[in-house]
Symmetry: D2
Subunit: 338 residues, 4 copies
Amino acid sequence: MQLGMIGLGRMGANMVRRLIAGGHDCVVFDRSPDAVNQLVAERATGASSLEDLVQKLEQPRALWLMVPAAVVDETIDALLPHLAPEDILIDGGNSYYVDDIRRAKALSARGIHYVDVGTSGGVWGLERGYCMMIGGEPATVKHLDPIFARLAPGIGNIDRTPHRDPAKGTAEQGYLHCGQNGAGHFVKMVHNGIEYGIMAAYAEGLNVLAAANVGKQTHEIDAETTPLRDPEHYRYDLDLADIAEVWRRGSVIASWLLDLTAGALSEDPTLGKFAGRVSDSGEGRWTIKAGVDEGVPTPVLSAALYERFSSRGNAELQNKLLSAMRYEFGGHNEKPSA
Amino acid sequence: MQLGMIGLGRMGANMVRRLIAGGHDCVVFDRSPDAVNQLVAERATGASSLEDLVQKLEQPRALWLMVPAAVVDETIDALLPHLAPEDILIDGGNSYYVDDIRRAKALSARGIHYVDVGTSGGVWGLERGYCMMIGGEPATVKHLDPIFARLAPGIGNIDRTPHRDPAKGTAEQGYLHCGQNGAGHFVKMVHNGIEYGIMAAYAEGLNVLAAANVGKQTHEIDAETTPLRDPEHYRYDLDLADIAEVWRRGSVIASWLLDLTAGALSEDPTLGKFAGRVSDSGEGRWTIKAGVDEGVPTPVLSAALYERFSSRGNAELQNKLLSAMRYEFGGHNEKPSA
Amino acid sequence: MQLGMIGLGRMGANMVRRLIAGGHDCVVFDRSPDAVNQLVAERATGASSLEDLVQKLEQPRALWLMVPAAVVDETIDALLPHLAPEDILIDGGNSYYVDDIRRAKALSARGIHYVDVGTSGGVWGLERGYCMMIGGEPATVKHLDPIFARLAPGIGNIDRTPHRDPAKGTAEQGYLHCGQNGAGHFVKMVHNGIEYGIMAAYAEGLNVLAAANVGKQTHEIDAETTPLRDPEHYRYDLDLADIAEVWRRGSVIASWLLDLTAGALSEDPTLGKFAGRVSDSGEGRWTIKAGVDEGVPTPVLSAALYERFSSRGNAELQNKLLSAMRYEFGGHNEKPSA
Amino acid sequence: MQLGMIGLGRMGANMVRRLIAGGHDCVVFDRSPDAVNQLVAERATGASSLEDLVQKLEQPRALWLMVPAAVVDETIDALLPHLAPEDILIDGGNSYYVDDIRRAKALSARGIHYVDVGTSGGVWGLERGYCMMIGGEPATVKHLDPIFARLAPGIGNIDRTPHRDPAKGTAEQGYLHCGQNGAGHFVKMVHNGIEYGIMAAYAEGLNVLAAANVGKQTHEIDAETTPLRDPEHYRYDLDLADIAEVWRRGSVIASWLLDLTAGALSEDPTLGKFAGRVSDSGEGRWTIKAGVDEGVPTPVLSAALYERFSSRGNAELQNKLLSAMRYEFGGHNEKPSA
């Protein structure tokens, strides 16, 4: 079927490629004409403006927005004058699901359908397919099924889940209509919250392994320093790249994130191109807020998020306060950096 | 080659089966004669006692202990009078690596070699192979290579890691000589610590999803209860089994633990056979202690462990203390269970 | 000066008493006529309705709302038709500061001044005075100074802070104009977030003390249970009431919350009237959300909140999921409750 | 009574002063003759060596060690040849209680009594008195009562705890015989664990307050950055020194640590002499380990400890790993420092 794609960054462009390879017809627009031209060279139809894009699509139109969450609303506003009732707007980016609820309601008043799609897969989606979590009206989501089916990974060579009824919907194809508007991004939000937690679990564990040689170091003895009681228990020089690799086969913690970690460590065991300032992009934060609203405890997911905050230096003031208190009650001076 | 296996529980028996299927010769012993007889029926050589087992093995012997960590020492003590210099004792259970260091030193004085093997794979190892993390002297570990190579999963159909030198050791076969004695169980310990963290990440996230319908519930208004500010943001009835399934393909958080979670939820979405009293079996605790000794922060791994403690009711007193303080300063009475 | 008080619960009634004792003139209203009559008997002027209350106050009026956060808006709506420009509405309850911002803006359009006051002191405020954190326009807050000065504890017998300029405002009297509207409740919100953290710190520590005798218990040995390695290190029967008491004098962790804890433990060391279902009343949650918005890591405050969630059974599903995963990968059955 | 004091650092010297002021007779030794001479000038009896100190004490001797935990054992070893049965060794430093158990057992074989005393009070103890938590045999502890009673703060002007039986021991004097050997340092260990948690609660909360103006900053919009949804909710410039001050009177979170924080912020609101590298000195770590051994969840105390680890840069590798994973799955580059 025909789809308009707005936003041809990493994700949008590759989705178009995957759709075209599946025989779908894509009309594409991006603020960068180069991005448009590149895909035109790969058999997409180019558009020179949002209006041009709309006019090149047959009604009812299906338009997929793959733009930063911060510009979704302005893009919708720019599109609206050109749309007609029954047209479908799909937000495939990382919007906050609360915005989906608001947008769906507002667009519904104009007869326009809104679909929110949380998309996981990153730079690997072109090859592996995109895992999609979808929110919207059932009829609209059903109408778009050919698009979702093509973008999704499909069953592939991954074993079917025991006990699962094969007739039960599309989940095992890698896409799922989760519920009414916002449900897609809600599920994607929590997906990312979990992702933070899993990443942190590996990172913490690997750091415990990396420090397994602290017993080889010598420490001075003073009232400010706890000597290591059993230095002979910490004299291992472990090869993190090998360890990540060995866990990839047969271990309980095998995962795609582990595969990637093994790759990064194989390429450079020192991870020298990173300083350790870890970004977070919204969903992890929103997951914590949702848990707080619901009264669901999320200590692991929260800790993972907070490690990222700290990695960017955001705990500096609280650390200074701790040193100041120690100085006040015990006369402790800060030890200089080793 | 020939191997003696002591302890024919879930893990030990399946390892023997996998070795026999690979052409190795296994002499087996267990306190339960039935367990021995079962494997004799599957072409193992049975032993009626530890002494009998030792005598049925050719020197230098290789004996694999697959017994609860708490009885490893007494088993070694019982074996010792029958062993000869150059014999090899392999502890494949979940020993604390600190015990490995102690044992290796003590056995070394008698000319006996000790190898610690952390083994992951659980009930699935027979089919998938066992991921093994190994500590010990290089020559001893090398001598046992045929055993490890057979028990391990091998490369299988899992993609090779980019940038990895194929000549770099056995890690991509699913087994690794990690370092000197204790290194195997140290790495396995951290593996399990990570496992706790990953499991908790999924569990917390899925609970946030399960509670996405709290906005449908009505709450009374009083000074003790925070009303949900935006109940219209929490009106989703999400299907956890479908969601776990959809993440299995193409998503960033695909993993074997997720596969298992999808299976459990497909079998029974209510998880009715579980009360939620989660055991922990040592490695998670030791990982936290190692991080503490090393000065490595492990907030995620710790939170995961503590959730298990709480699930078993261990936080009861501290919760009562919180209620008591609230009563003291604010006259707040506990709200009865809903 | 004259003040109208709406809401004569624990807090409101005692504030009126403290004001009357200080020579102020209070007109009071509550939905319960009994509550009004009680204070009339203590020299307040009673009002039979909100309208009656407004009419008994001289312009510009100062009305203090001490009602549950959930009914502040409806109370303001009911008052509005009777108010005149320059009247002052004070919200002394536990409103979300975001609501203060909204209300101040809306009321400002009608010429009415809004002041938000976060109040700490609980049932002890009548005797100790109330610590007040205030948000609003400087002139309005200044106008109300006699009220705040009377309700506040004053310097009392607490030592002055070294290095502090005595001319620097009212903070050392126990009340503070924190900033524009919302600032009062923002600071109170964080105050409560900190309170949760401190309470949890004591509660956790005391539970570690209470369990210092676990080495006296016997544990069965199986693969599901980690035996305590050094039971001889955990054979202390500690008296928590005595320990809380001893810390009250001279220790670094002396505090009013500790005083209360010592009292609760002295009254009943078993805390038998509490089940350990700990409520939370909003500010703790909002503090976490503010930290998340700001990118400030709050692992301690979050952990404290989550312990409360768990104490009320909210982690049940995630715990079941953990047990289900353990069963799937390792065949582990849940251990029955001890 | 007569007491020998070994170690005349901050704590030891002030304890001697407090004892002398109370009429006790102190013989003192330190590796630094200057430290000894200083106290001799204040009416202590000086000793030129450990042996000299022992000889200047009447039997049965009471010797108080106030030396770094790391040198307690060697100090005891040096003293031993000179001691006689029934002499008493008191370790008033920050020893690990496990060492107390070991030492008490070993010394007992020689007829020497060992007492462990956890001491809180820091640089303020001379003036306020020392809070002491004591472990040892009842008769020995009773024998030393005059020393403890003098060092302790006494009831002072702190209110008695309601419901507490005034005849119930010495706790309300600020010292307590907690139990057998090790109990004193066990209780002190947990005291410090709690201290870390309380300090972190204040520090986190104050940082949330400090960042309450993030809405005034401008942020660029890109896929890596979550824009602040409601910048108008974060436009407060709060005065932390004033806020810490206002909480000192009448609030639920008043405490001695808050008093000190208010002092530090009054002296320098920027805390400019601190870099935020926060030390930890053992007890916090041991508290976590004890909780882990006991199965008691300590999420708050652990988070507080881990913040200190991170403040010293110990999370660097795990942060790099997170950035590496993000790069691998999403092509995300680290954002440069702002």
